[in-house]
């Protein structure tokens, strides 16, 4: 069972006939504790579901570690970027994505917004007893496609099975490494008053897609998650605006939380223009129905970049040429006045945009 090689790494496919190990086949329909027990059932699961999808030379013969050539890092930078993230989502599959895709893009994006070229990922899965094997296959297929899209290889991993109720279906933890080009030094401390804040696209779609997909609210929504790799967008931005100071992806807590973190981290204020913030019409409708504020909804393919004003137009033009950047917009700027995010409203007033407390709950009655 061969798979197409992932971009980004030279691949010599593993072959069963190499004679080192047999390739197991998993015939069970559901995962049981036996699949985490270390015996042949576990090996069948790993062979048939994971190796057959992810196989690449860095995996070697399933040693305890992946072995990566340092030259590949030194060729593209002078520092290693290293990150990890745990992924849980309910439901596992939602419009525009699934847990597998999130687990790859989430880690890729954490590397990408630091200016790094993402290269390798690890993948640890915690699986709840009773999960359908088919579900697992779909998640793995999705991870494989996402890794190919993002130009990374998944080179090492782990699988654990826990009893019913001890996890919610599947949890995935990925870690990732990449190389940061010499001379590039993005950081929150580089942010300066006068920098403009640029977002690459429409905000809030992921949070709304997940809320709708859960089904409790009985809403039919055409909104898809914005789940996507940001590497290409960030690279285009940095090429057009090489003096960019800082980039952060606006995941949990949405744009508002990201900007508050920057404001807290620098002591500078941020002044937003509500009319400039790109939102799709359906998202506005969704938020009106539930009394939600779109600035706090999660994103999985959106960033806020802090760019010197002189390079802002070039940055926008470059972003708009890349998929996922067509709606890029300048939404505000960094100010000297005390560390607070303030938004000029659509209606001409102004209000503070504060950090969110806990989870945003619908406001209905």
């Amino acid at each position: 069972m061969k798979t197409a090689p992932a971009k980004g790494a030279e691949i010599v496919p593993l072959k069963a006939e190499d004679g080192l190990r047999r390739h197991g086949r998993l015939s069970a329909k559901k995962i049981t504790l036996a699949h985490g027990g270390g015996g042949s059932a576990m090996r069948d699961l790993i062979d048939d579901v994971f190796i057959s999808a992810f196989e690449n030379p860095a995996m070697g013969d399933l040693e305890d570690q992946a072995r990566l050539p340092l030259t590949q890092f030194t060729a593209s930078g002078d520092r290693l970027a290293f990150t990890t993230d745990g992924f849980v989502v309910d439901p596992l599959f939602f419009p525009g994505g699934d847990l597998g895709k999130l687990a790859v893009y989430g880690t890729v994006n954490d590397l990408a917004v630091g200016g790094a070229k993402p290269l390798y990922l690890s993948c640890a899965m915690i699986i709840e007893e009773g999960v359908e094997v088919e579900t697992l296959r779909q998640l793995v297929a999705s991870m494989k496609a996402a890794a190919a899209e993002a130009g990374v290889s998944i080179v090492t991993g782990d699988t654990k099975v826990v009893g019913k109720g001890q996890a919610d279906k599947v949890f995935i933890t990925t870690a990732g490494v990449g190389a940061i080009p010499a001379g590039l030094n993005l950081g929150v401390r580089q942010v300066q008053p006068g920098d403009v804040v640029i977002v690459n696209g429409k905000l809030g779609d992921h949070g709304a897609a997940i809320l709708a997909a859960r089904g409790d609210l009985e809403l039919e929504s055409p909104i898809h998650s914005d789940c996507r790799p940001l590497t290409g967008l960030v690279q285009a931005l940095l090429k057009a605006a090489p003096n960019t100071h800082f980039i952060r992806d606006c995941t949990r807590g949405g744009l508002a939380s990201t900007l508050n973190e920057v404001s807290d981290g620098t002591g500078f204020g941020i002044r937003l223009q509500e009319k400039a913030i790109p939102l799709r019409e359906e998202l506005r409708g969704f938020c009106e129905i539930l009394g939600l504020d779109p600035l706090y909804l999660a994103n999985e393919g959106s960033f806020a970049a802090f760019v010197p004003r002189a390079e802002a137009e070039a940055a926008l033009a470059a972003l708009r040429r890349v998929d996922g950047g067509q709606e890029a917009a300048i939404i505000g700027e960094v100010t000297t006045s005390g560390g607070r995010v303030i938004m000029d409203t659509l209606f001409g007033g102004a209000r503070i945009v504060d950090m969110l407390v806990g989870e945003q709950l619908p406001r209905i009655c």
Binding site: E218, L346, F347, G348, A350, R351, V357, L361, P362
Partner: protein, 383 residues
């Protein structure tokens, strides 16, 4: 969005704000002696902050944020009742998201969920009925809170349950009525209110007639308002116009949605299912006579209070909490000793800090941008 975006046109705001400033000058209002207008409804409070309306208006107008947020006036004892039911085995407790974080004396529904209670957030009481249909071996309880706007929806849901013969479904009713509370506020000798912005969606059900006494007995103007920023500015203009012309009338700015006669079909459903509750406790305001409803005898089978033998034991508000004074407009949120210290949106002590419609949370999270007293209170917390 039709019927929303037209009423958010900032180009019209400047002219309206000018006209309002002229009226305030004509009335001799100043920052020290402002015209005080109470917006009754929490939805209006939310809109005022969301759009930053205070920034557009002169300081000679002061908004008093009224009691029309069902979550904000939910007494601690009622949240305790919710928890008592939600923690029972075999119960699915369904509620609007609004109620999840409201603190009772033993925690909130969100905390109960963390402790293993099966608490579900729904958008509609009909969705709670669907839960009952899908889980015939469970008892599904819906927490019916809200004003007159929401009563028809829960009444019709119960009628539907009866029609379908669904018996594993009941409601914990905490529906409250705005009229007796407005009278209580007007009777308070400390109150100084020059006029009211009336609750648009409540009026869509009850009509404009029940407000008549506010104009005839108390000589205050009231304008029923929509929820978009231009609706609010126009309503304010209408209230001030009455003041300038020395009239006191009940007017309706929100005629596109609110017929003056309200909705008779909806009222009929409410009357069929509910009866007036003799006493009703409001957080911060205390007991107000006949300010709520309960199931009538014919629908006792759907009454969760009876089904689960709940005895509503009153729990006093925390001593340092000044929610009542803030609700009545006697104190600004930041003048409460607990504001930003013992009481934050993260760990709310008083209900006004819970909902973004509550004036404390609104000030804390959105706030007016140029408010030095507020800044001071916030900074005191940080240091």
């Amino acid at each position: 969005m039709k019927y929303a975006d037209e009423f958010r046109d900032s180009a019209l705001a400047a002219g309206l704000a000018k006209a309002i400033a002229e009226q305030l000058d004509a009335l001799g209002a100043t920052e020290e002696t402002p015209v005080r207008i109470m917006e009754v409804c929490g939805g209006h409070t939310h809109a005022i902050f969301r759009y930053g309306l205070a920034d557009l208006l002169p300081k000679s107008i002061e908004f008093l944020h009224g009691p029309g947020c069902p979550v904000c006036v939910l007494p601690r004892s009622r949240v305790d009742d919710c928890l008592a039911i939600a923690m029972k085995p075999n119960v699915i407790f369904a509620t609007f998201g609004d109620a999840m974080r409201v603190p009772g004396s033993k925690g909130s529904l969100l905390q109960a969920k963390g402790d293993g209670a099966d608490v579900r957030m729904v958008y509609s009481p009909l969705d709670a009925l669907t839960l009952a249909r899908r889980n015939p071996d469970k008892e599904v309880v819906f927490f019916a809170l809200g004003f007159e706007t929401t009563m028809p929806s829960t009444a019709l849901t119960v009628l539907k349950a009866r029609e379908e013969g669904i018996t594993n479904f009941s409601l914990l009713v905490n529906h409250i009525t705005i009229i007796p509370t407005l009278r209580a506020i007007l009777d308070d000798p400390e109150m100084r209110i020059d006029g009211f912005i009336g609750p648009g969606h409540v009026t869509m059900i009850i009509g404009t007639e029940p407000y008549g006494f506010i104009a005839s007995e108390y000589k205050k103007p009231l304008v029923v308002a929509g929820f978009e920023p231009l609706d609010l500015l126009q309503s304010l203009h209408m209230v001030l116009k009455q003041k300038v012309e020395q009239r006191c009338e009940i007017e309706n700015q929100y005629a596109r949605v609110v017929p003056n006669t309200g909705n008779a079909v909806a009222r009929k459903a409410v009357e069929q299912v509910y009866e007036t509750r003799e006493h009703c406790e409001w957080r911060g305001l205390g007991d107000i006579e006949q300010s709520g409803v309960q199931f009538n005898a014919a629908f006792a089978a759907y009454d969760a209070e009876k089904k689960f033998a709940i005895h509503n034991a009153s729990v006093p508000d925390p001593a340092e909490c000044r929610c009542g004074d803030v609700l009545k407009g006697l104190a600004k949120p930041w003048q409460c000793p607990a504001f930003g210290k013992a009481c934050t949106p993260e760990i709310p002590l008083g209900a006004l800090m819970v909902s973004s419609e509550g004036s404390c949370a609104a000030y804390y999270q959105y706030s007016a941008v140029h408010n030095e007293a507020l800044e001071e209170a916030r900074n005191a917390k940080a240091s």
